[in-house]
Structures are given as structure tokens and as C-alpha cells.
């Protein structure tokens, strides 16, 4: 009874909050340069001069990162990986943003930016190490100007902002300047840290681009749980521009990110980019989306596939032979088998290594624990020896 009442109150509460869920991007506000059908369209603010070879290079990236993702999912199924966070559907957003970056720009990813990792030149094996449980990442962020994956939602946006403040202090803003890009999801926008990053960046006018991949879902939570306005609008309130781009359009993502990065390098401060896309797969390999979303939604998005439209464009405009697509597929397959083989061969770290790199110098206490552990392990070998 009382339960019922609460239920009723609830429904009314929900009614009250039932503003039209903002899920479909209003075309007017969605920046697009390549339609789902593969037609090239112009945008007043975002012209893009791009050669056939450049488009083909992007296509190659898209196909390869999808293949890496595909292989990783298979490896997880076979028990070679503990878990995998698929980027399926977000290839264009990641390749577009990734290829917009200059060598000296710095990228701060979440745990899903495999496509950006590829563009930065990080060996996919490094990603597999993490998801296999062999390391927590363990690559050198300075090697490819690609920071470690960050799993705690939103934390990296503050690291990115601080890094950008460092660029200012190095006097590396303006002519030949450097910029930072911070990746995060739609769900992350609810975290205090992300909002604090917006504030720090705007107040210090830091050279940073906030790249939000709005893939419509935070695990099982639809965007309405995080916001009742389009996410790109958040930026205005903090005093810097926000734009929404078709996240399945690699050309638009490239153009919009390039422009925002250049503005940052020139000292014009931060930009928020909302890449409107869709998580076509499960949140991770342990997730079951059938519990919370309809397959119809997926079907609708399949028509906006980020790769197919580029292929159609290249074919329609006769910028690529069929052989090109076969070559790319073959290359992707090669990358796939390389990482599959590499993953199966990947050794576990030595037990003793778990004591490494806690601090720059090992404390006596930790040294003692390390020794104790070694002795303990030996005791078993001894036992076995005894047998």
C-alpha cells in the first residue's frame, strides 16, 4: 500500500521530469561532412581539404582498429583476455580525433580509446596486456604522447587540464604551440572531476580540447540519466565553445577536432566537442545489453556505420579500386593474426615484479616483504624438491 503510494509519487515525479529525452541529434546542430550514404557535404564553418590518399589512409585506420577490436573480443571469449571494452561503432570519432593530433600534442584516453592508441602509434599488444591482466598499462606516456588508460571515470580530464597548464608555463602556446586532448564519455560528464576540469581549463584558458564520445550509454544508463540538454551545451555555461559533431563521420571529426586543437594551440583556450555516436557492442565483454536496450536501436545505428560510408564515398567518387579494399582487409587480417598470436604467447609477469615501482626507491619495509615472499616461494620449491 505505502509502497504503492511511493510508486505513484514516483511516477508523478517521473512525469514531472519527462522532458523529451534528447537522443536524436538535431541535424541543424550536428556537424557533418560525410552522410551515412557516403555523400560529401559542405559545412560553412568546417571546410576540409582532403586528398584521396588521405581519405584512404583514414579508411585503413578505421578498418584496422575495428579488426583489432574484433580480435580482442574473440581473445576474451577464448579466455586469453580477462575483459575487453569494445570501441565498435566509435571508430570514426577516435580515428578522426586521433589523426587530428600533431606529434607534439598530448592525448589523455579513457579505457576505450583503442582507435586513438592506434593513431598515436601505440602497439596494440600494450592494450592487450592491460585487459589480459599482465599489466595496468605500463607503457611510457611520453613515447607516443599518449597517456595511460584511466579507469576511474573522469579523473584524466583534470590530468589533461594540468598538463595543458604546463604547456602554458613552458610558453608553448601561440606560434607552433602544443595542445592537449582529453577523452571521456557521456556518463563521465556527471562526475565532479570533469566539471572541475571545465572550470580550471576555462579560468586558466588552457590549450585543451575536451572530446566527449557520447555513445548514448553509460553501461545500462541512457543519456537522460546524465543530462536533459545536449552535452555540448555544457561548455557555454563555463565560458568556452561547445560543438556537436557526427561521431560516425570521420571527416567531420577530423575537421572539428583539428580546428579546436588549432584554437587551443593559438591560445584561444578550451573547446568541448561532443561526438554524437553509438556504442554498437556491449559495454564490455562481461556486459549484456539485451537487459536494458532494444535491438531496434542498434539496427537504426547500423545504417550510420562509420566505415561503410567512407567505403561508399571512395567507390562513388572512384577514388579507390576494389583492390584497395582487399589490400586493407588483408592488412587488417595480418594485424589481427599478429596480435592473436602475440596474445597467446604473452607471458605472465614474474611474481616478484609485483613489488616493483611502488616508489622511486624501495623502502626497507617493502624490501623485507619482497625477501619474505621470495623465501616463502622457495619453501614450496624446497618441498617439491623433497618429494
Amino acid at each position: 500500500m505505502a509502497v504503492k503510494d511511493a510508486g505513484r509519487a514516483a511516477r508523478s515525479a517521473n512525469r514531472a521530469s519527462a522532458r523529451e529525452p534528447e537522443r536524436q541529434a538535431d541535424p541543424a546542430e550536428l556537424i557533418q561532412l560525410l552522410t551515412p550514404e557516403g555523400e560529401r557535404v559542405e559545412h560553412p564553418d568546417y571546410s576540409l581539404e582532403i586528398s584521396a590518399d588521405e581519405v584512404k589512409a583514414l579508411y585503413r585506420d578505421l578498418v584496422i582498429v575495428r579488426r583489432i577490436d574484433f580480435e580482442a573480443i574473440a581473445l576474451q571469449r577464448q579466455g586469453e583476455l580477462g575483459i575487453w571494452a569494445s570501441l565498435l561503432g566509435q571508430e570514426a570519432a577516435q580515428v578522426g580525433a586521433g589523426r587530428a593530433l600533431g606529434a607534439r600534442d598530448m592525448a589523455f584516453p579513457t579505457y576505450r580509446e583503442h582507435g586513438v592508441a592506434w593513431c598515436r602509434g601505440l602497439d596494440p599488444m600494450k592494450l592487450l596486456e592491460l585487459f589480459r591482466g599482465v599489466s595496468h598499462g605500463g607503457w611510457d606516456p611520453t613515447a607516443h604522447n599518449f597517456h595511460l588508460y584511466t579507469i576511474v571515470i573522469g579523473s584524466q580530464t583534470l590530468h589533461a587540464t594540468g598538463y595543458a597548464m604546463g604547456i602554458q608555463r613552458d610558453g608553448a602556446v601561440g606560434e607552433g604551440g602544443e595542445a592537449v586532448i582529453a577523452f571521456f564519455g557521456d556518463g563521465a560528464t556527471s562526475q565532479g572531476d570533469v566539471n572541475e576540469a571545465f572550470i580550471w581549463a576555462s579560468v586558466s584558458n588552457a590549450p585543451i580540447v575536451f572530446f566527449c564520445q557520447n555513445n548514448q550509454w553509460a553501461i545500462s544508463e541512457p543519456l537522460e540519466r546524465q543530462s536533459r540538454t545536449p552535452l555540448y551545451m555544457r561548455a557555454q555555461g563555463f565560458g568556452f565553445p561547445g560543438v556537436r559533431v557526427d561521431g560516425n563521420d570521420v571527416l567531420a571529426c577530423l575537421a572539428v577536432t583539428r580546428k579546436a586543437l588549432q584554437a587551443a594551440r593559438d591560445g584561444q583556450g578550451p573547446t568541448l566537442i561532443e561526438a554524437f555516436t553509438y556504442r554498437m557492442g556491449a559495454h564490455t565483454t562481461t556486459d549484456d545489453p539485451t537487459r536494458y536496450r532494444l535491438s531496434a536501436e542498434l539496427e537504426a545505428w547500423k545504417l550510420k556505420d562509420p566505415i561503410e560510408r567512407v567505403k561508399q564515398y571512395l567507390i562513388r567518387t572512384e577514388q579507390a579500386e576494389m583492390s584497395f579494399f582487399d589490400e586493407v582487409d588483408a592488412e587488417a587480417a595480418a594485424v589481427g593474426s599478429r596480435i592473436r598470436a602475440g596474445c597467446q604467447r604473452m607471458p605472465d609477469p614474474t611474481p616478484d615484479s609485483m613489488f616493483d615501482n611502488v616508489l622511486t626507491s624501495e623502502t626497507p619495509q617493502l624490501a623485507a616483504e619482497r625477501a619474505e615472499f621470495a623465501a616463502y616461494l622457495d619453501s614450496f620449491l624446497a618441498e617439491e624438491g623433497a618429494r
Binding site: 514516483a10 517521473n14 591482466g133
Partner: protein, 327 residues
């Protein structure tokens, strides 16, 4: 009596809590349609509505902060933190607000807020999904900190936590979610062992072994193994970490004269330290050996391929037991 997994037992306990008190709420990330990543809240939103099983935005400080507000309005929120490693954004609200508001208000305010946290490792997860932060909360006056070790306790203790007028940090042994056992879902809370009492799980005479959460089963197994080589372990499931049921602990140690504390958390500054200090002070003349602690090394949680080396296991517990006899 029905056979339930620990996670299903929690689910049934939560259902009872929602049935018994219209003010009880569940809130957290993905607790609705998904039923939580461990399915602990499975089906509850369907049956109790979105007003009582609340899918929240993705921010832990917001979850606890609004839960405090709901409690001030007379509700009894049961919050889920998705994984141990993600309680930290909410740390400020828990430590400076939730734990202190009753004291601050001279008792005029009650905050019956339960915070469920799947904790501990052993499931091969990535970073931040295998932490054991319980000691941080046990060092914070104003909070009750408990942990269940088996399905039966899971079923009762979650209801006791929900019914408690104090803030309760409820630590669920993640890797035991799939453990099955008989649970009496008909019996009410009336006769149940209070949430803040420890339980002597395996009576014994030679060494007192103290544990909680995921280590309860491991220690019970250690007792069996030890009895093999003629050692009688008394295994005590602490159940409550703040307050500690020192009466039960001291009584056992005075009897056995030896004590080993086992937890997954880092040994340095862990619950075991407090227990060792108190046991030594109160049972000084009974102790044949110093209280020994078995737990994680003083490093961050390692990559999962190494966690079996990092976490206490049957062998390391028996090793510690042997060492107490070396004194």
C-alpha cells in the same frame, strides 16, 4: 531453507527491506534494468518502481550526497557503489557529512544510509576493481563497518543494515557472490545474531584465526587442512569491523594464546593492526606469540595475473599459523 548464492541472498534481503519499509530506497549506477553489474538488485526496479530503485547519474559523491538528503527527508537509502575502487569520489561525503551529521546535530539527525560495496579481489579484474578499503572507514568514528562471509549472513545482515538507524558501510565479498549455501528466508530478524557480533565459525583450541568477508571461507578451509596436521584452529568471522566484537575475540585468544588475523587488505595500517594492538593490550599475559597478520603486501593491487601471489591464501594462512608456534 532454500539454496542461494551470496548475491541472490543479498537480492532477497534487499527485497525484504523494500517490502518491510516503504521508506527504504535503493540507489546507484545501473541498479535498475541491469540489476547491478553483479545482479544484486536484479528485478527490484521492476517490482518497486523507479522512485524506489533509483538509477543515478554517474557520480559517487552525488549518490551519497543525495542519499544524505533523502535520509534527512525521512527515507532510508541503500546505496550501491559499483566497485570498491570507486568509493573514493564519495569519500568526502561519507567522512565529513554522513559520519558526522548525527554528532554535529547533537543527535537530532539520524542518517539511516547503507552503502553497499563489492570488495576484494580474486576475480581477475582490471585495476580499481579489487580493492579492500574497509580500514579507512573503520578509522572514521560515526560509521558502522560490516562484512558478510556467506549467503546466510548476507541475507540477514543486509536487512539489519537497512534497518539500522546509523550509517552502515556494507562490504560484500565480490569473489564469493557465486558461493551457494542454505538460507532460511522464512525466519525474520528477531532471533538473528546482531550485525555487530562476531561468530565463532569453527571452534578450536590452539590458534585463534580472525577473518571477515572473502577470507572466511579460506580460513575455514585452512582449519580443515590444519586439523590434518593436528592443529586445532578457532576460526572467527568478525562480521563487524567497527565496532569490533572484542569480547568474542579476547575470550578466544585468552583460550588459545595465539592469534592470526587474515584479510585481503594491505597489512600495513589494516584492520589487523588495530586487532593486534588491542589483543596484545588485553590478552598480554595469555599470549604465547605475537599476533601475526596475513594480508596484502605494501603495494598497490597488482595486475590480476599476479593476484594469487598478492592475496592471502590457504598456504599463507597455514604458514602464519606455523610461525605462531615458532615463538
Amino acid at each position: 531453507m532454500t539454496t542461494l548464492t551470496l548475491s541472490k541472498a543479498l537480492n532477497e534481503g534487499l527485497r525484504k527491506a523494500l517490502e518491510n519499509d516503504p521508506k527504504a530506497l535503493i540507489m546507484g549506477e545501473d541498479v535498475g534494468k541491469l540489476g547491478g553489474v553483479f545482479r544484486v538488485t536484479d528485478g527490484l526496479q521492476k517490482d518497486f518502481g523507479e522512485a524506489r530503485v533509483i538509477d543515478t547519474p554517474l557520480a559517487e559523491s552525488g549518490i551519497i550526497g543525495t542519499a544524505i538528503g533523502l535520509a534527512l527527508r525521512g527515507y532510508r537509502p541503500i546505496c550501491e557503489i559499483q566497485f570498491d575502487g570507486f568509493v573514493f569520489p564519495a569519500f568526502d561525503q561519507i567522512v565529513t557529512q554522513l559520519a558526522k551529521m548525527r554528532y554535529r546535530s547533537l543527535g537530532t539527525v539520524r542518517l539511516p544510509v547503507t552503502i553497499r560495496i563489492p570488495f576484494g579481489g580474486g576475480i581477475g579484474a582490471v585495476e580499481h576493481h579489487s580493492e579492500s578499503p574497509e580500514a579507512l572507514f573503520a578509522h572514521t568514528p560515526g560509521l558502522r563497518v560490516v562484512s558478510c562471509g556467506d549467503p546466510a549472513d548476507a541475507y540477514t545482515m543486509i536487512q539489519q543494515a537497512a534497518a539500522c538507524d546509523d550509517p552502515v558501510m556494507f562490504f560484500e565479498p565480490k569473489r564469493r557472490y557465486w558461493d551457494k549455501a542454505e538460507v532460511d528466508t522464512d525466519s525474520g530478524l528477531a532471533g538473528a545474531l546482531p550485525m555487530d557480533s562476531a561468530r565463532v565459525l569453527v571452534p578450536g583450541t590452539d590458534v585463534t584465526v580472525l577473518c571477515y568477508g572473502p577470507m572466511v571461507r579460506t580460513c575455514a578451509e585452512a582449519a580443515v587442512a590444519a586439523s590434518g596436521d593436528g592443529k586445532s584452529l578457532e576460526v572467527i568471522d568478525l562480521r563487524s569491523l567497527a565496532p569490533l566484537d572484542t569480547e568474542t575475540i579476547f575470550a578466544s585468544v585468552r583460550k588459545t594464546g595465539r592469534c592470526v588475523v587474515v584479510h585481503e587488505a594491505v597489512v600495513t595500517g589494516g584492520i589487523g593492526a588495530e586487532i593486534a594492538a588491542q589483543v596484545t593490550q588485553e590478552c598480554f599475559y595469555s599470549l604465547e606469540a605475537p599476533v601475526l597478520r596475513v594480508g596484502a603486501y605494501t603495494t598497490p593491487y597488482p595486475p590480476s595475473r599476479l593476484e594469487d601471489h598478492y592475496l592471502p591464501d590457504l598456504d599463507r594462512i597455514l604458514d602464519a599459523v606455523d610461525r605462531t608456534f615458532a615463538y
